[in-house]
Subunit: 399 residues, 2 copies
């Protein structure tokens, strides 16, 4: 028996749950819980013959989480809720003896800033309790970290330069929409950039560094240097990395919309009093914007996310590019969700599978690159996210 | 004694009340009422030695209006509240025997559409009650209509072509802000354009017709054809007009912001349910955007609004351009408000003066061009909005 509690009922959760149901030999006892039980019922109800349970839960409420988990007794909790809620869920896991997996690291609600320190502090507690916590097991962070671990294991003796490149060349045919929770998306993009070079973090103005990169099967796209959380653990776990950066593509129109959203004050996370109710402008905007879960139907094009590395093998310098391309329509046809949800939800399911199979079971708090990448890499090919590699090609980055 | 009730406490009301206080021989008994009494107290308190009264009023509430007016017994009500509230205030005027003046015609709250028909229907009632209603006595509508009446009286036998041109070449040094109530502003600009030609109204897509016009002391500015309410009464009162249009300048950045605001759904006037509260996105945006009343301090540059006409005098064709330029800093130094509030508030005060002096007292419902323009034109020069005229210059419009 492997009892799993999934928390969350958005696009990523929908994908993860549908993929769990496709692997029902492993995922045979699952409960889906979120703030709105109807959303959970809708996901489970859409899967033919699915016997997964559902429940209502406020993931901000540690007591309620503890109560639910004491009753259901999951072996593993898969957290696909908001990053604000990582800590309450981890606390409840410790109190009830459940292992833990998430896809995005904790950030405080009132401050757009993410870092692993909050969760790394739980290492001793999880170790002592004999529980496993797997952090950041989506695509990026997640697969990008596992790609790096795979390259460190099989390709390089020493990785020296790492550029994670994330391209969404899809078109949802809406004037403006974000591909995942718009609140989290806008918080991420509007903060300062950060990259690792020669042993220290270098901060940049938001979106100030950019260059045109060529993506497989897509072509050239303007790509912007962002801070992204997997860099924090990768440069720690691979101290040979001299420079680590993260790049994401944005269209000019997207950036114009983003600039205006900030100009008019709608990206603000400081609440205003509106008719006696404290309302965060960015959260109100989220309620007005298209729901990312509804973008799938008319979404064409594809994503391309991967790692471009330069390093040494047997004293010689090599480059290596490992990536996955995911077509939005393929993702939609399989799960009803677009590619951005798909590429996050599938790795979350695979990570849970790794844990349940015992492959990634190890007391403590871990980033995904700290586990053996091989069984995960093998599942990526089977579960809809096949990867490709180019050795000694042009990675478009000099030292 | 001339008892005046001013409803509203925004930027325009602030200007009108301050100018009334500067003409205290005529405006010696004034009450200022608005939804928030503190705003009224603040305006009156900022005027040295001012004895004007203040009151709380919900201008949507006809009963409350009737009660307040029954007690205070104003001779004239100056409506500087929102256009949604014109009818409740006119009703209360009829019930309590007060005359009426406003600066913007009625529009229903749930439909961004303004026209005079709603208010013209009150003609008989006001006439029978022996009360005067003066509609649209700001700058545009208001002064632009009076400019036209002045040209019809003194310059032309027959006005054939009329272009009202409204340029704001000011800079408030904010990323984005509207110059008056952003809700009303955005509703106005995002609706379809409309102009009068050869006896019928022609509708255009929003902002689809534009041309570069040269404004005195400012230079060339891209100007967009909009529907504007004074055209509706002017082509009716001057049936010789073959073509009547209204043009307003917008910068490219302003239009980009406006487009994005629409794209993201924040210009919508359809309420959404947010945490159990029905909220109109555009009204929420208004609460987030800078308050137009706070723009004055750093606002430089000037406005230029006027009428460009072509017509016949003694059988010969002439052109005529009559306009006012208003510097934002001059307006701010005098009243604490920027030029857009100033150019609306001063004419409202002059219109009230015209009524109180008996010059514009005539039972019925009237647009301002139906009164004698001369005493009003004379006051414009005295009250801070001097006008200039160019006979037979280049008006930049062909027939």
């Amino acid at each position: 028996m492997s009892r799993v509690l999934v928390i969350g009922a958005g696009g990523v959760a929908t994908v993860a749950i549908k993929k769990m149901a496709m692997n029902s030999d492993i995922f045979n006892d699952v409960m889906v819980a979120s703030r709105t039980k109807e959303k959970c019922d809708k996901i489970v109800g859409s899967i033919k013959g699915c016997n997964y349970k559902t429940a209502q839960i406020d993931a901000d409420d540690e007591e309620a989480l503890t109560k639910l988990m004491s009753e259901y007794k999951p072996e593993l909790v898969v957290n696909l809720a908001l990053p604000y809620q990582d800590l309450t869920i981890m606390n409840a896991c410790l109190r009830t003896g459940a292992s833990y997996l998430d896809t995005a690291n904790y950030e405080p609600r009132d401050r757009a800033h993410f870092e692993y320190s909050y969760q790394w502090k739980y290492k001793d507690s999880f170790e002592k309790a004999g529980l496993t916590a797997i952090l950041g097991c989506g695509f990026d962070p997640g697969v990008t970290s596992i790609f790096t671990a795979y390259a460190a294991k099989h390709v390089f003796d020493e990785i020296q330069y790492l550029d994670i490149v994330d391209c969404n060349a899809g078109n949802h045919h809406k004037a403006f929409a974000t591909n995942f929770n718009p609140e989290i998306n806008i918080r991420e993009i509007t903060q300062k950039g950060l990259y690792w070079e020669n042993g220290k973090w270098i901060e940049t103005e938001p979106l100030s560094i950019h260059k045109t990169l060529n993506y497989p099967n897509i072509g050239p796209k303007e790509s912007y240097l962002l801070h992204h959380e997997e860099l924090e653990s990768l440069v720690k776990n691979y101290p040979t990395i001299k420079r680590g950066r993260f790049w994401m593509t944005f269209g000019q129109e997207y950036l114009t919309h983003l600039r205006v959203i900030q100009d008019i004050g709608m990206a603000s996370i400081v609440p205003i009093n509106y008719n006696g109710q404290e309302i965060v402008p960015l959260q109100f905007l989220k309620a007005v914007l298209p729901n990312p879960q509804d973008l799938g139907k008319n979404y064409d094009g594809e994503t391309s996310i991967g790692c471009r590395m330069r390093g040494l093998k047997d004293g010689k310098e090599h480059t290596y590019y490992i990536y996955n391309n995911c077509k939005h329509q393929d993702a939609y046809n399989e799960t009803g969700m677009q590619g951005v949800s798909y590429t996050t939800g599938v790795p979350a399911m695979i990570g849970a599978m790794m844990y349940l199979l015992g492959t990634w079971k190890r007391p403590g708090v871990w980033n995904v690159e700290e586990f053996d990448p091989d069984p995960f890499m093998s599942q990526l090919n089977k579960q809809g996210l096949p990867w490709h590699e180019i050795l000694d090609g042009d990675i478009e980055f000099e030292k």
